[in-house]
């Protein structure tokens, strides 16, 4: 196995345990644990079978650590993301979940899903969650972030300021790169993992060179199938 696959996951796991921008290390690990717990939630299972999620009410089977509005966000993103809507998100924000916290939460869940899915795919047990690291969140919001194309504010490449980290280094700044940009550290962290598991941006259209044991076409077909299976419109 390519060493970068292992090293990128090690970096992601260390990042998961460290204080984030809006959540502490302990809260980030709790979100990760709740994302795993969502797979055992009876309410989520019932909703998955319903025509719409709103048709089934009840309480999530949670670990009891996080606020219920956070639990709802984690469980729905983990188990039913293809049917999320702006109205659903606005309802969560109306219940007091800060949009910056929400975006970081999405990044944490995506990281855990990627690493857990990798282990599952290879028939390995999931990694033990890391020990939370002490420290306080930086709470730095990019000055140039604004509402434009997503449900959440994003930071356009042209709006990155001198005080912002280089979140688009090595990236084309496509919409998917912008999705988490309200929390630049999540863009940097998630796409570090993406480059190892998929391909770095600069190699995506270099069809004349194969960088993996799979061809570009094999990679893209598998990727497209995964998106379809997850009912992803993007």
């Amino acid at each position: 196995m390519r060493t970068e696959l292992t090293e990128a996951q090690d970096r992601a796991w260390a990042r998961l345990a460290a204080p984030g921008t809006w959540w502490t290390g302990a809260e980030r690990v709790a979100i990760a644990a709740e994302a795993r717990q969502a797979l055992l939630c009876r309410l989520c299972a019932e909703r998955a079978q319903a025509l719409t999620a709103n048709a089934v009410s009840g309480t999530h089977d949670s670990l009891g650590v996080l606020d219920p509005v956070v639990v709802e966000a984690v469980h729905r993103i983990r188990t039913d993301s293809g049917r999320l809507s702006r109205r659903w998100l606005d309802d969560l924000l109306g219940q007091g979940l800060a949009v910056e916290c929400y975006v970081e939460l999405v990044g944490v869940i995506a990281t855990v899903i990627a690493i857990d899915t990798f282990a599952l795919a290879l028939g390995r047990p999931p990694r033990a969650l890391p020990r939370p690291q002490p420290g306080v969140p930086s709470q730095r919001r990019p000055v140039g972030a604004r509402n434009d194309r997503a449900w959440v504010p994003t930071l356009a490449p042209e709006d990155v300021g001198p005080d912002d980290p280089p979140l688009y280094a090595g990236l084309a700044g496509m919409n998917i790169h912008r999705a988490l940009s309200l929390v630049p550290a999540e863009v940097i962290g998630f796409f570090d993992l993406d480059a190892a598991m998929y391909l770095p941006d600069r190699q995506l259209r270099d069809y004349g060179t194969e960088y993996r044991a799979l061809t570009h076409a094999q990679i893209e077909l598998l990727a497209a199938r995964l998106s379809a299976l997850n009912r992803c419109v993007y």
Binding site: T52, T117, F118, A121, Y207, E220, L226, C232
Partner: protein, 115 residues
């Protein structure tokens, strides 16, 4: 989809995008069905099916390819959550370039059922 088409244009292969929706064939990509079956098993939740698909990929393509396929399946199982949870749209240019094929194979129907 855009990158799959780009790959096909570069190599001169015309891939069948419709297989992405039902996994019914290889779409013209060598070992494509094997890989799509593996992807479906990864998200399908059936351990026996996944073990069989994993062995199939390993035998046909090798250990390195299996790890790479696991990586692609893993990151795309995650990145769809990023897109879905933030409501980030497809770029206008990509949407226009893929409009016909998206309509033909039914991807646009995924927008239904959101609540």
């Amino acid at each position: 989809m855009v990158l799959l088409r780009g790959s096909g244009e570069f190599t001169g292969h015309g891939y069948d995008f419709s297989v992405v929706m039902d996994g019914s064939g290889d779409g013209g990509v060598p070992r494509g069905k094997l890989l799509m079956d593996f992807g479906a098993a990864v998200v399908g939740g059936d351990a026996d099916s996944l073990a069989a698909c994993r062995d199939g990929v390993r035998r046909a393509l090798g250990e390195e390819a299996l790890a790479d396929a696991a990586g692609v399946a893993a990151i795309f199982n995650a990145v769809v959550r990023v897109a879905d949870a933030t409501g980030i749209p497809l770029e206008d240019a990509k949407a226009a370039a893929s409009e016909k094929v998206r309509a033909e194979i039914g991807i646009d129907a995924f927008a239904d059922g959101k609540a």
